[in-house]
Amino acid sequence: MKKIEAIIKPFKIDDVKEALNGIGIQGITVTEVKGFGRQKGHTELYRGAEYRVDFVPKAKMEIVASDDQVPDIVETIEKSAKTGNIGDGKIFISPVEEAVRIRTGEKGEAAV
């Protein structure tokens, strides 16, 4: 099993979720994160003083899936999350050794 972690633009969450549902993925966990990267942040004003806010709001989507689903998932995320502008984000893939569904105790790929 693998974990696919995608850092994307927050307003793309719905699109990506729909696209993943389209290829049969039902379990996703989403976290609000802040990203530092090539995409620049913005300036804030406070009584005439300027403050740089470096971070950009991003969303992290995590999907654990069996090895053979990975290419499909990655492709789907790439397509649905892409705007072509800087800051579209990254996908990282890492190994997962075991999964357990708490409700049933199922293990392995049956659990995800």
Binding site: L45, Y46, R47, G48, A49, Y51
Partner: protein, 453 residues
């Protein structure tokens, strides 16, 4: 050393002192009470209309202080939001109690000494009767004047907290409110507004508190900021993360709303002068909001909501002393200039000031109050109020009186406030320790969190 530590351990002495002061006063008053009580006298005619207006105005001014709390609270970091609001909130409580016990008597009682302090005649209000007419306006009961003026004392004290937030010890703030009210506010109020007051006799014009309230507080805030020192990271890190500017706008709105009571209520009657004060208050405020907005827009490229609200407050401050003297056109100018001036202070002068006047009490209230007091000397129109004639209406001498009052009040407040802060610092410590400052005052001073989302 150990003794000092024990003295610095604020809690116990503070509480006992309070209980003692409270308890003794009450006991004493209960004894004396019957002596005075019989003196209640004839009941001449009151004006229900005027009384209604001053009652309503008192309620309006009361609301300004929590409004100020939110105005301030929205600008600080989330870890200090409750503490910041509570500095204002608790000032309502401490000042209200002290005002009844001795504050009113010192500030507005019959002059006791050289036009700078009232007598103890009205201590505990024991010698004041429900049906007594106010010495300051015969058509309303004395009690409502006591209340109206109380609300001014409350907000003046609360204003100072803006310079001190994010680092002052709550217990020290409590002590400060009581001492400052007694030693600084009361004499200044007597001198400027009291019958027989020093500047009052000189002819100083301060309709609703440019000197008594704003200069007084603005300068005290500066003194406090100096004694306290800068917040960790000031001008080095980004310590400006206003947790919820909605609070600040809400506070600004409540201030604007309540200020109608402040200024128009200061006529003490529901008469044409009150309506004029109402009108110029609103006009100056609007013009100042626009002034600050334009200045910021030009300099920083964007008009901020905080700027608009800050501008409005600057306008409210500046028109305060002038509100019962100037005409609509005068108020437009006073306000517009106030907006630009206070903005300029904040962006140009403050960074060089060397003190961390956290929420710009000096730049907005101090400087705005000075401008307002001077502007009163310029624009006072005798057709609005025969009691005031300014430079532009042929009376250059007024400027001198205004100037003298400003300088004296500012100097007195600065020196005395500095001393008070220093003494409190020595006796019980003025500032929280570094770790508490880093963790935030909500948790460390109150064991509470502003938000549980």
């Amino acid at each position: 050393m150990d003794v000092i530590k024990k003295i610095k351990n604020f809690k116990i002495p503070l509480i006992y002192a309070w209980s003692l002061i409270g308890g003794l006063s009450l006991v004493m008053f209960s004894w004396i009470s019957p002596v005075f009580a019989d003196a209640a006298a004839k009941v001449p005619a009151f004006s229900a209309g005027n009384t209604a207006w001053v009652l309503a105005s008192s309620a309006l001014v009361l609301l300004m202080t929590p409004g100020l709390g939110f105005f301030y609270g929205g600008m600080v970091r989330r870890k200090n939001v409750l503490n910041t609001i509570s500095l204002s909130f608790i000032a309502i409580a401490t000042v209200s109690v002290i005002w009844i016990l001795w504050g009113y008597s010192l500030a507005f009682g019959p002059d006791a000494f050289g036009g700078v302090i009232g007598s103890l005649k009205y201590i505990g209000l024991l010698a004041m009767h429900e049906t007594q007419h106010s010495r300051y306006d015969g058509t309303i009961p004395s009690y409502v004047y006591v209340m109206f003026q109380l609300m001014f004392a409350v907000i003046t004290v609360a204003l100072i907290s803006g310079s001190l937030v994010e680092r002052i010890k709550f217990s020290s703030w409590l002590v400060f409110t009581i001492v400052w009210l007694t030693i600084v506010y009361a004499p200044v109020a007597q001198a400027v507004w009291g019958l027989g007051g020093l500047f009052q006799k000189m002819g100083a014009l301060d309709f609703a508190g440019g000197t008594v309230v704003h200069i007084d507080a603005g300068v005290a805030g500066l003194a406090g900021a100096i004694v306290l020192g800068k917040r960790k990271g000031y001008m080095k890190e980004n310590i400006v993360q206003p947790s919820q500017l909605g609070y600040t706008i809400l506070g600004g709105a409540l201030l604007w709303f309540g200020w109608f009571g402040f200024n128009a209520g200061s006529a003490l009657e529901a008469n044409p002068l009150a309506t004029s004060a109402f009108l110029v208050t609103n006009t100056a405020t609007a013009a100042a909001a626009i002034g600050w907005m334009i200045a910021e827009w030009i300099r920083s490229g964007k008009p901020t909501t905080l700027g608009m609200v800050s501008g409005a407050v600057a306008g409210l401050v500046a028109i305060t002393p002038a509100s019962g003297f100037v005409n609509p056109v005068g108020s437009l100018i006073i306000g517009f200039v106030a907006g630009i001036l206070c903005y300029s202070m904040v962006v140009l002068v403050k960074p060089k000031l060397g003190a961390d006047d956290a929420l710009d009490v000096f730049s907005v209230h101090g400087v705005g109050g000075i401008w307002g007091a001077l502007a009163t000397g310029l624009f006072a129109d005798p057709l609005i109020n025969s009691a005031g004639r300014g430079l532009f209406y042929g009376n250059p001498g007024q400027m001198w009186i205004q100037f003298l009052t400003i300088i004296t009040v500012a100097a007195y407040s600065f020196i005395m406030s500095y001393i008070i802060f220093k003494v409190i610092d020595k006796v019980m410590g003025l500032r929280v320790d570094k770790e508490s400052e880093a963790i935030g005052l909500d948790i460390t001073q109150h064991d509470e969190a502003g938000y549980n989302f």
